[in-house]
């Protein structure tokens, strides 16, 4: 009796996790198809005070290189090795991202967009998040259209 209940529980959790993952992936896909309406619109939701924060590492000569290393470790899987869009994440070389204030990107990194699949990254210490912002801003706008 208990065993069958447990088996049902395992099956339910597996099915639910796959469904939830699929739903998140579909949210990401529709974002790629119409980014202005979804993913990039998150940039406009960042509080003005947070957007106005300056990058304390903008004059640090090592910030971009350190950010590149962190990007490869934590971000490339979703956003692509060149940050121009990947399996689940939108291009970070899109005009909307590249023209965003450093504080805006920092806030989004810190808080994520949890319901759309972007996790919070506050587990990275604050200087490392600023190093990531330095790297992303150094990439410039991609000349090719976003992937996906």
């Amino acid at each position: 009796m208990i065993r069958s209940a447990v088996a049902d529980g395992v099956a339910l959790i597996l099915a639910a996790s796959l469904l939830a993952g699929t739903a998140d992936a579909q949210a990401g896909n529709s974002a790629a198809e119409n980014p202005a309406k979804s993913v990039y619109a998150e940039l406009g939701k960042v509080p003005a005070k947070a957007s106005a924060r300056r990058n304390p590492l903008e004059s640090d000569p090592e910030a971009v290189a350190a950010g590149a290393k962190l990007f490869e470790q934590h971000c490339a899987e979703c956003h692509g090795a060149n940050a121009d869009g990947g399996k689940k994440g939108p291009s970070l070389r899109a005009e909307a991202v590249q023209q965003a204030m450093p504080g805006t990107l920092f806030w989004l990194l810190t808080n994520g967009v949890v319901r759309k699949g972007m996790p919070v990254w506050s587990r990275l210490p604050e200087p490392q998040r600023w190093q990531l912002v330095s790297y992303i801003k150094s990439l410039g706008i991609s000349q090719t259209p976003p992937k996906q």
Binding site: I13, A20, K69, H74, V114, R123, P125
Partner: protein, 299 residues
Amino acid sequence: MKTISHSFSYGLLALSLLLFLTLGLPAQAQESPYFITYDHYLEEPGSLEVEYFSNFATQRGGRNFDAYWIELEYGATAWWTTELYLDGQTTFGDSTIFTGFRLENRFRLLNSEHLINPVLYVEYEQISEADKIMKEVEGHDVEADHAAPNAILRQGHNHELDVKLLLSSTRNGWNFAVNPLATKPLTGGDPWEFGYALGLSRPLALKASATRCSFCRENFVAGIEMYGGLGDRPSFGLWQTSQYLAPVVAWNLPSNWTLRLSPGFGLNNNSHQFLLRWGVSREFSGFGSTVASWFGGRR
């Protein structure tokens, strides 16, 4: 000697599984050093973390033991992580046995970062009373519970529901987490039992260096955790409970492995005098989409 080699074989098997899974999948590592306490960070969506942990303990009135578990942790979404645990133990001079499994789910309750971030933890466990991983210390759990031979302990079975509220805050690199827990045995009509875990940790450096390195200070996270029982519904409090204090350290290698180590010390006479926990883990990002592609899904 035979039991030690059994224990070693289990470890080797776990490491082989980890190595096998290493092939062909990218990975990322940035793990907390805690063994018992949870912070509010969940597994990244689509990522699978494969972990092997060991808990060696001294035992008064019985034989020392080494309990171990394999943990498969999957990020279903950015707000939901689900896990499967498989537990076993070797009691030296006695035997090596499988002691049961646990199913765990963690749900992030708020969409963005706050001063205090709550995560709901719900776990079902079906384990024998010979289970000694001590992942949760609750109720009136004491050292003497582990003193009997495995042949006797394994006759008792626990079907329990564990609920925790994981409260965690990260400021200036410091993480502080508080995990109150409540456990309800699903058979036998036993009362609710209570416990807690507290954790404090910080990376040794907050800025990342510009080059890949194994021994950079930012790869090390150190801290301390404290955990123990708080009695049960009829007798809430510290009376007849065990309490532990344990320094913890994690080493996040650029090769995407994480190693953890924690010597633990019992704080009263009901506690094991000494615990030594260690663990090795590897995280595989993109696991979900890789599996989906095997079945013709979109990678």
